[in-house]
């Protein structure tokens, strides 16, 4: 049994059952109140329904019997009397009893509730026996007044006209009877008593004759319930027919166990208040830390640190209490889809991933509407109708995938469909025709940027307006709702393949880490979740560019639009800004230039007063550790103006496309020292960085080897290869494990410095054999080592040992504009034993293809003159190269390709040597050897063959 579900059920049932008593009592005083009756029915119905889910058969029987009776009361508009209410109260007590038992023991207690079930069934039958007046004739005829034996004729006459059957007498109740003209209270009581016993007798006869009525009772296996039990309470009550309900209640209410303390429900408002208080505590803590820092003694420092830690923990735990799994939000999706698909005549299934991902409840609540809207949109516009899908070779049933995951302080939600996708050109044209952008801007805009236009207010792409969506409101509402909780949304789409919406939202909004910056002597807070990086800038640097009157900063090849904070804020006495805070808005980056970056602090977001409602640049305010109030900048609002300026967008989009080939050269490189000098190698070549005990490097002849993960790995001391002075041997030597096609090499260096992302300057002339370029790291010129040259020199067999040479030399046409990559890849291709023909761009490649017929075409994508896509498209039209496999080698992810990756036979990321070799060997029709076996042989072979040759 699902523990969590059960606990939930128990809490909820306890809550509901607690109110049901009161409701039943209200109903008794006002039997015509159908709302009340509905409420009671719902509660019992819910209990019954949940039982089936949880496999609580005992409880289900009781609840079912209760539900049947209530249902009957409801459908026949039967006016309940106090006896009926008592019975119902008894049934709810039975339900409570069982629930209490489950709470205590985790399973249903073995109590016998067949009698109550039976009585409920009897009561149900009783209602049937006393139908509403208009349909009463059928039964009225045979009913005699014989049952009224011992009652004075005068009274029998009165009853004959009004309540001829015992059932009707019972239904009317004591009050009505008494009120009959000519009736005396004592007689009425007597009549009622007789009516009860007679009616019970009748029903019992009926039960035996008509077992269907007792279906439930039969199930409970106790049709032979002792009559005494059935009768006893009724007899008692007969005497008490006019006694107040409370005593009835007391009589039937069994003693009950106290509720378990496992979980309680807490008012959300209380939690919010607690959160506020913790927020204040965090602020006071910050202040305390600041003061202690200035004047604290050791003891004080220790205590305040303690408080600080406890506060953080408290904050974390409290945040947790407000978290709810996203499944709460997604729970309604299947139902939503069911309704939508029915009305649209489509077939759509939903797949969910990461339902357990938790979100702050306020954010969750804010996401409800956008989520519904997005899903409706996907169903309506995204997923095609079944026949269209079949025609385009897709499954008849469309799929919507919901994925949620946590990613560094954010929750990322992807909603994707496998529908028709959105054509960027459509959006572009529409936007132009609606005057959202100009035609020129449209031309300049990248497809991705154009797609984002669907979030623009008033731009709805579907001509046909349906009742679900497409009314011109929609995606802009979605966007503003998501931005309202500090999130961002982006759209990606591939025509024919589907659309993905990518939503990023912060985990919580209450307490956030923020960067404190200064602009014109004033302090501002920028939420750190928006901050991508901080850069110190030099005003004189030529990285500054002015395009269309707007400042841009060239950051690693990308144009970063810059906003000066002091200008946006119209501050007087601007000081020279020295730093730029790079913020992420969706996938776009903006730079906010500020005076000084002061540091980071945890802040509690407080709302700004109504005087600031019109200012979108502020997201709130907070109090810093020094007691000072600081406004929090809203990066979305701050950049809004800039983001909406289409020329800026176009410039950025354009430059991104144009510069993407440059940014490809920006690589993660590992910087290390050998002796005094710094060197670097591309990170992609390094499998692991290890610290190896000097003793573990064994001498074997004149070479050193290392036992590493079951391999015998050759150790290369870089200092000796490069002929530089090495540091004295250390106890732990930093080593780079270079991995190539499953075989490894260990390169010993003196010190690991850093891993940085850097643009590499490539030496055009190879004057120095082991270096392929330089990078400036930390102001130091750092040589980038061509590790393959080094290996070639020291262990020449390392590559060729695996290349199984064929009779005919296979040819590879390699198209790449960057020298750096050519230098990296060509030795690798050499290693395959292939002849390599290199070309610098598509045009050159085309020329080469006129005279050569390579076995494979390996091409970069972003190139000048003619790029890889264009080249590939051209090649695909050439019958001569019909069978030639084309491999894309790019630093882009497949998903970032402008064109469908299906154009290529394989797509490989740059410097992913393993994948490249694998793809190439496969496409060249070669088999891969079992590397691990071979490697060991290679090393051994080397040991034997070139014993003393390598120095």
């Amino acid at each position: 049994m699902d523990e969590e579900l059960l606990a939930e059920f128990l809490t909820e049932s306890n809550e509901n059952m607690a109110s049901i008593e009161e409701q039943l009592l209200d109903l008794e005083s006002d039997p015509a109140n159908s709302d009340r009756l509905d409420g009671i029915f719902r509660v019992v119905h819910t209990v019954k329904g949940s039982c089936g889910f949880l496999g609580l058969s005992q409880l289900e029987k009781v609840a079912h019997a209760g539900e049947n009776l209530l249902g009957k009361i409801r459908s026949t508009k039967f006016a309940v009397d106090s006896e009926m209410v008592s019975l119902l109260l008894e049934s709810t007590d039975a339900i409570k009893e069982i629930i209490a038992g489950i709470e205590e023991h985790g399973r249903e207690p073995g109590l016998d509730h067949s009698s109550i079930c039976e009585r409920l069934a009897v009561a149900e039958g009783r209602i049937d026996g006393t139908p509403a007046d208009d349909e009463g004739e059928v039964i009225e005829e045979p009913v005699s007044l014989d049952w009224l034996q011992g009652i004075d004729e005068a009274y029998v006459a009165i009853l004959r006209d009004n309540f001829p059957s015992p059932e009707k007498v019972l239904a009317a109740g004591f009050g009505t009877l008494r009120g009959l003209p000519g009736m005396q209270p004592a007689i009425a009581l007597k009549v009622l008593g007789i009516a009860k016993s007679v009616s019970l007798d009748n029903q019992k006869k009926e039960l035996v004759a008509n077992p269907e009525v007792l279906n439930e009772v039969v199930e409970s296996g106790l049709i032979e319930a002792p009559k005494e039990q059935v009768l006893a309470p009724v007899e008692e009550k007969k005497a008490e027919a006019s006694i107040s309900e409370s005593s009835v209640k007391n009589q039937v209410q069994p003693a009950r166990k106290a509720k378990s303390e496992g979980s309680i429900r807490v008012d959300v408002a209380l939690l919010d208040e607690l959160m506020n208080q913790v927020g204040e505590l965090v602020l006071s803590r910050n202040r305390l830390l600041r003061l202690v820092e200035q004047q604290g003694g050791t003891e004080l420092v220790r205590t305040s640190r303690n408080i600080s830690q406890i506060t953080s923990r408290l904050q974390e735990k409290l945040l947790h209490t407000r978290m709810q799994p996203i499944s709460n939000l997604w729970g309604t999706v299947p139902r939503l889809l069911r309704d939508i698909t029915k009305s649209l005549g489509k077939r759509i299934r939903v797949e969910m991933e990461g339902q357990e991902t938790e979100l702050d409840r306020t954010i969750l609540a804010a996401l409800k509407d956008p989520m519904t809207h997005i899903i409706r949109n996907s169903c309506d516009h995204g997923i095609e109708s079944p026949d269209v899908r079949l025609r385009s070779g897709k499954q008849e049933e469309g799929a919507i995938k919901l994925k949620a995951r946590q990613e560094s302080g954010f929750i990322v939600i992807d909603v994707s469909d496998d529908g028709g996708g959105i054509d960027a050109d459509n959006i572009r044209n529409k936007a132009v025709s609606m005057g959202v952008i100009t035609a020129d801007q449209g031309d300049l805009m990248s497809d991705k940027a154009a797609l984002q236009l669907i979030f623009h207010a008033g731009l709805s792409t579907v001509e046909k307006v349906s009742n679900l969506s497409g009314r011109g409101v929609g995606m802009d509402v979605v966007q503003s709702a998501i931005e309202g909780v500090g999130g961002t949304v982006e759209i990606e789409s591939r025509p024919g393949q589907g659309t993905t919406l990518n939503i990023r939202i912060p985990l919580t909004l209450a307490i956030i880490p923020a960067l404190i910056v200064e602009s014109a002597t004033q302090h501002f807070a920028i939420p750190q979740m928006m901050v991508q990086e901080l850069i110190a800038i030099d005003r004189e640097s030529d990285a500054w560019e002015e395009i269309a009157g707007k400042p841009f900063y060239r950051l690693r090849g990308r144009l970063l639009p810059i906003i000066a904070l002091s200008e946006v804020l119209e501050q007087q006495g601007q000081d020279e800004s020295s730093s730029v805070v790079v913020v992420n808005i969706g996938a776009r980056q903006f730079g906010i230039s500020v005076g000084v970056i002061l540091g980071a602090e945890e802040i509690v977001v407080k709302p700004l007063g109504r005087h600031f409602n019109h200012l979108e640049i502020y997201g709130g305010c907070s109090i810093l550790g020094d007691g000072r109030v600081v406004p929090i900048l809203d990066c979305l609002g701050l950049t809004k103006g800039l983001r909406q300026e289409k020329d800026v967008e176009a410039v950025v989009a354009n430059s991104e496309a144009a510069l993407s080939s440059i940014s490809e050269e920006s690589q993660y490189i590992l910087v290390f020292a050998v002796g005094e000098q710094w060197y670097a190698i591309p990170m992609a070549l390094v499998e692991r960085i290890e610290e190896v005990e000097a003793a573990a490097m064994e001498k074997s002849g004149r070479r050193e080897v290392l036992q590493y993960r079951g391999d015998v790995v050759r150790v290369i001391r870089l200092a000796s290869v490069l002929e530089v002075e090495s540091l004295p041997e250390q106890e732990l030597e930093p080593c780079l494990i270079i991995s190539d096609q499953g075989s490894r090499l260990c390169i010993q260096v003196d010190k690991i410095i850093d891993i940085v992302k850097q643009k590499l300057e490539i030496h055009l002339e190879n004057s120095e054999p082991y270096f392929i370029g330089t990078a400036v790291v930390d102001g130091r010129s750092t040589e980038v080592i061509d590790i393959f040259e080094v290996i070639k020199k020291v262990a020449p067999n390392w590559f060729s040992s695996k290349g199984d040479r064929r009779q005919r030399v296979q040819k590879i046409l390699y198209v790449e504009d960057a020298v750096f990559f050519r230098n990296m890849v060509i030795p690798l291709l050499d290693g395959l034993g292939c002849e390599v023909i290199a070309a610098r761009n598509g045009i050159e490649a085309k020329k080469i293809l006129e005279r050569e017929s390579p076995d494979i075409l390996l091409t970069d994508l972003e190139m000048p003159e003619m790029d890889g896509f264009a080249l590939t498209q051209w090649v695909r039209t050439q019958p001569r190269f019909e069978k030639m496999p084309i491999v894309a080698l790019s630093s882009l992810d497949e998903s970032q390709y402008r064109e469908p990756p299906s154009l290529f036979d394989a797509c490989v990321k740059k410097l992913d040597r393993g994948v490249l070799l694998k793809s190439l060997t496969q496409l060249l029709g070669r088999k891969r050897e079992d590397d691990s076996v071979l490697n060991a042989e290679v090393i051994l072979q080397e040991n034997n063959e070139n014993g003393g040759r390598d120095e």
């Binding site: 006071s284 004033q522 119209e570 407080k606 005087h611 600031f612 200012l615 000072r628 109030v629 103006g641």
Partner: protein, 158 residues
């Protein structure tokens, strides 16, 4: 509002540019000395800034700025009245006087002769021996402090 103001028995008097004003004591919680302010760029002109009053962030308004009067010369002797209206505000005046009993007899509706600016924040006047006291309408005051900006300044987002 009206009935509340008239029926309330006590008023706090304060002074702005030599004009004596009065505020219902029920609408304020305390009077404080000048606070450290955080100026918020692009805020409405009537806003002095944000103040931290024992952990509560309040918007401080300046009576002189609301009335479009010249800035006060000696800011140090000014006082800030903490208003309880809405989310709470500080209202800075030149000085505060005393708490007086409301004399319903002496109360009169806003006279037409009063300057437009004054009229826009005035609830009525109270005739005293020393002179005329202008009884302020806090809601009007706050509304004016917001709208004053909206009309006179166009500085929005950028």
């Amino acid at each position: 509002m009206n009935s509340k103001n008239i029926s309330c028995s006590r008023l706090l008097t304060c002074c702005v540019a030599d004009q004596w004003l009065a505020l219902s004591v029920e609408e304020l919680s305390e009077v404080v000395t000048p606070q450290v302010k955080t100026v918020i760029p692009l805020a409405p002109v009537a806003v002095n800034g944000l103040i931290n009053l024992r952990g509560k962030i309040l918007t401080e308004l300046d009576m002189r700025k609301i009335l479009e009067l010249p800035e006060r010369e000696n800011a140090l002797i000014s006082r800030t009245i903490i208003l309880e209206a809405g989310e709470g505000f500080g209202l800075t005046v030149d000085s505060v006087g005393e708490v007086i009993d409301m004399d319903a007899e002496a109360f009169e509706r806003t006279p037409d002769s009063l300057g437009e600016c004054w009229k826009s924040v005035c609830h009525g006047v109270l005739k005293q021996k020393k002179g005329i006291l202008i009884v302020l309408d806090v809601e009007k005051l706050i509304a004016k402090s917001i709208s004053a900006d909206c009309t006179s300044s166009v500085s929005g987002v950028r």
